[in-house]
Each structure stands twice: as structure tokens, then as C-alpha cells.
Amino acid sequence: METLYQILNPDFLLRNSIYTSVLIGFACPLVGVFLVMRRLVFMGVALPQISSTGVAMALSLPMWLGFNLTEHGSHSTHALAFAGSITFTLTAILVLAFLERRGRGQPEGRLGTAYVVASALSILLLSKNPYGEIGWLDMLKGEVITISNFDLLLTAVTLVIVIAALALFHKELLLVSFDREMAVILRKKVVFWDMLLYLLIGLTVSMAVLSVGPLIAFGFLLIPALMAHLFARNMHQFTILASLIGGAVAFFGFWVAYQYDLPVGPTDVVLLGGLYAFAWIAAKILPRGLSITYKA
């Protein structure tokens, strides 16, 4: 319990790390719900890895062009990394979604190849980059340690924008996901709403990868949503439960990692995996009726 008091203390040295983890824990499942509903779970695996390749590429560019990145301060490094991450994530999501919609080839094969090539490329790029040693390799491994006030603020603002857009346009995003034909017949701008959803997924993934690394990003994108789907009775419960599970596990995972001196990312993901297994067994035993009846 002493550790718990320590990490809840406003003067706690790693407070930014825990705030960021919890923010990512709450926000990632909100877009993860759409990945699960649109049957894009494999995309949820590949995107964080592709995003981290974008980070590695962005950090390698100045070196190739002969610039010294450390002279420009950590904010410009972070901005550059964010630009690389968002560019790669959005490009990948648009290309993969386009190929998925055409329905040709093997989607699993494409996503698996994208994942493994992105993983290898990230490591290759950063292993030859002197700045890669200044924390970025740790980030790729899921070590959430050095998060500045600026990083925390950027994460918070981005995630608030994502959550606000998801809440505001939930009706439209749900309609184009559930029944695209109906959306076209109702003269909704289907391509615009698809693009908005991909943008929100891309922003969340990029921010999560930059703040806590691809491992946690992937874990929080999908596992809370899959877990919540076992018990929820309607869309509101599904979304809220997934987000609460993500936020709670992020906090608890950080506590466990701090208590036992473990890396936060792997601790969070193992906790999520264990909880998912437990939830799956519980859902098989318990009747599907733990929830509140929806009032029409």
C-alpha cells in the first residue's frame, strides 16, 4: 500500500508517466471498439508497429541529411517523431483499408507482412542512429519513464480531441460501420466519415506509440475492447466498459511494475492478457446478463 500512496502523491517523480499511461489506457479502447466491430483486429496489431517505424524513420532523416538533432531540443525531436508516426500510421491505415475494401488477396498475409517488416525496419533504423540510444529503443520496448510536461500535455490534448470527436460523431461513425449501404442511401458522406474514423485511430495510435510504445498501444487498443464485448449488452456499455478496463489496468499495471521494478509496458500487457483469459472463462460460466437493460 505504501507504493500506492507514493504513486498517488502529486510530487511523485514519475507522475507524468502514470498520468500518460492512464490517459492512453482510457483512450485507446475507445478507438479499439471500432477496430473490433469492423473486424480490423489484425490492423490493430500492425498499426502501432508501423507507427513506431515512422518514429524511427523521422529520427533517422536528420542524421542522413547531416543535421544534429540534439541541438534543437527535445520538443522539436518529439514533434518530428510525431510527424513521422502520424504520417506512417495514416498512410498505412488508408492503404490497408483500401485493399481490405477491394477484397482481393489475403488481408491477414498483408497485415502480417506489414507487421514483421515494420518491426525489423524500426530496429534496423534505430540501431544505426545515435539518437536511438537516447530513450527511443526503450520506448519501443515499452518502458514508460521519461515523459515531460510537454509530452503529457500533447498526449492529453490529442486524446481529448479524439474522445470529443468520437462522442460527437458516434452516431455517424456507428452507422457507416454497421450498415454502409444504409448510410449511402441516407446520403451520408461515407468516405468523409471513414476518413475521420481512420484519422482518429491514426492520431490515437501515434500518440500512444510515442508516449508508451507499440506494445502497450496494441494491448490497450484491442484487449479491453475484446474483454468488454464478453459482458456488454449494448454499445454504450461496450464503449464505457472497454475504456474503464483500459484505464484501470493502466493504473494497476503501473503500480505492480513500480512495486516489483518491472517494465511498465510488458506488465500492462501481461495483466491485460491474464484478465482477458479470466474474463473469457467467467463469460462462459456466467449468464450474459450482468448488465443494465437498455431503455428504448
Binding site: 452516431k171 452507422l175 450498415d179 449501404e181 449511402v184 441516407l186 449488452r233 449494448n234
Partner: protein, 245 residues
Amino acid sequence: MRADTQQTMDETLITLDNLSIGYNKQAVLTGMSFSISRGSFTAILGANGSGKSTLLKTVLGLLPPVAGHIDTASRGAPLVFGYVPQSVQFDAVYLLTAFEVALMGSYGRVRPGLIAPSRERAFTRECLRAAGAEEFARKRFAELSGGQKQRVLIARALTTRPDILVLDEPTAGVDRNATHSVMEFISQIRKERKITVLLVTHDFAAVRKHAEQVIWLHEGAVFYGTARELLSPERMAEMFERGID
């Protein structure tokens, strides 16, 4: 009677002018010219792969015509379609209640960023009641039977306040009793609300009983006429070159 037959009734809602339909610029059916009038009940008949769904999707604006022209406007305003797709196409992963599915019909009138107002929710409940789906409005859509899902989808189509109700094999995967009940309901709602109906089906018996006009797609040819004329044993025998009872 071939596809170029014109029907002259009071008000034309849909006009097909030398229309060719298909996918990826490859025509499946060509040279279709006919019209559908307000208040009519038209059935599209044909075997699997004959182009029924392609025709329906072209009329709905989901597929572009390969050639020719289609006019779907009433008094200068675009038509409002109440579309009833096949219920089997929906993914059970969506945790939507029957009410939430039906409410989607009102989204064409609710601006982005706003939730459906209480008058739209009340109208949705009214449509669910009219479709006989009120009692399972709170149940999960994915957990309903085939017949119940069809009623919810019909309620959703009514919620759009449609000029024309378009149904894609509404009795596919539905048992015999429910099929009868769904067809009777469509016929009844059409009379009560004076709605135009365009129905894709395999069910000859239902077409004979309820439809006025028939568009029959058969081996690349399009036949258009009244149900009584096209579905007479003599006419059917002529088309199939054998007798069908």
C-alpha cells in the same frame, strides 16, 4: 412484353431509360426501359445471379449505371428510399438493440453531431409498433429470429419516412409462417400508408398474391408487365419452354 414497355400511371417515381447495369463497367443486363409509379407494388423476380440485386442497388444509387440513365426524383426532390436489406448481412459483433437499429432510419434527418431528438425517438417507436416489433425493441438485434429482424428492418425503413419501400428478399432465411406474416404486413402497410413497394423475391406465390407489376430477369432478358399477365401458366411455360404450375 419486353423491358421497353412503358407504364403510364399518375405519377412516375423511378424511370429507367435504356439502362445497362453491372459491376466494374461490365454489363449484366442491358437496354432496360420502364418506370415505377407512386403507390404501385412491383416485384423483381429471377434466379440467383440473374441481376436482381444489381438492379436494386443501381436503383438505390449504391452502384453506378454502366450505361443509360435512371431518374429517381419526385416533383424535383430526390426520392427517399426505405431500404430493407437481407437481415443475414449484419454482423453480430455490433451490440445494437432493435430500437437502435430502427432509430438509424431517422439519421438522414438528424444533423451530424446531434443526438436523435425525442420526436424522432417517438416516431421510431411508432414505426416499431406498426411493424409489430415493439415487444422486442429492447432486445439485441443479433439475438432476434429471422422474422423478427425483418420486422425491425422494415420499421427502420419506415422511420426514413420513405417515398418508396425497397425490400431485398425480405423472406430469405425466414420460416414459412413468418414469410406469410412478413408479406401480409408489407401489403397491409402499403395500403395504410400509400407507400410504393419495390420487392426482390424468389417467392412466386407471394408475388401472385401481392404484386401488381413484375420485372422478371431471365437469362439476360428483362420482362416487364402485370403480375397476372407474366405469371400466367401459359406465359411462364412460354418463357421456360415448359409448363410450370
